[in-house]
């Protein structure tokens, strides 16, 4: 049923971008952090959040490196992040959503699909240890200020 989300409208664009971001990182499931990166492909959403896609990717990579360092593993190259460009694309579909990601994009049976604005709202509501909440905290994004900008996107 989630495949329908890819077919239509702005949310479909966000979902496709989120799947690309998950693939780019070599992740096996689509989580809320990928949905956040997917939203940031849209300039309006990036302006509302006050961060760029590149900043968010870098922050996610930094979280990974910090986690590896915390357990005593240091990598001396620019990993994690870039997928080996020669590797074949892993089978990743909207069926690979984590439970949190599913809750963010799916409004439940019989209801209309969420809008991208509603997806942003849900991501701002995520609490730690949700990966999107962790990424937003690492980026220093303040949900209160984002909500204010979201209400007046042109200001």
């Amino acid at each position: 049923m989630f495949d329908r989300l890819l077919d239509r409208g702005p949310l479909g664009t966000v979902m496709k971008a989120a799947l690309d971001e998950a693939w780019r990182r070599g992740d096996r499931r689509l989580g809320t952090e990928h949905l956040l990166l997917g939203l940031l492909h849209d300039e309006t959403q990036a302006r509302i959040l006050g961060v760029t896609l590149e900043q968010a990717r870098a922050a996610l990579d930094a979280l990974d490196r910090a986690a590896l360092a915390a357990v005593g593993i240091r990598t001396d190259h620019a990993y994690p992040g870039a997928v080996n460009p020669t590797s074949s694309r892993p089978p990743l579909s909207v069926g690979s959503l984590t439970s949190n990601a599913r809750a963010v994009v799916s409004p439940g049976a019989g209801k209309r699909p969420r809008t991208t604005e509603a997806v942003l709202e849900s991501l701002l509501d995520c609490a730690l240890p949700d990966p999107a909440a962790e990424l937003l905290a690492a980026l220093g994004v303040d949900p209160v200020r984002v909500r204010r900008r979201s209400a007046h996107p042109e200001s």
């Binding site: 070599g26 990974d64 990993y79 590797s87 074949s88 240890p129």
Partner: protein, 67 residues
């Protein structure tokens, strides 16, 4: 502190940190495997030899990396 084992370090960290590290290592292993398979193929290794080296069947390594 110097003699902390890997398990000690994971136990001392926030669970989210340990889980994130595990996921990052999975991705790192996939990258190394993919690059190593490409390299072995370019050096003339057979799928059978690569499968043996990775501890998996020839079929599974071939279906994962053929192109």
């Amino acid at each position: 502190m110097k003699d902390l084992t890997l398990t000690d370090r994971v136990g001392a960290a926030d669970p989210a940190t340990g889980l994130r590290a595990a996921q990052a290592l999975h991705r790192l292993a996939e990258q190394i495997e993919s690059a190593a398979v490409d390299h072995a193929r370019s050096q003339g290794w057979s799928w059978e030899q690569i499968g043996d080296a990775l501890g998996v069947s020839r079929q599974s390594v071939h279906s994962k990396y053929r192109r």
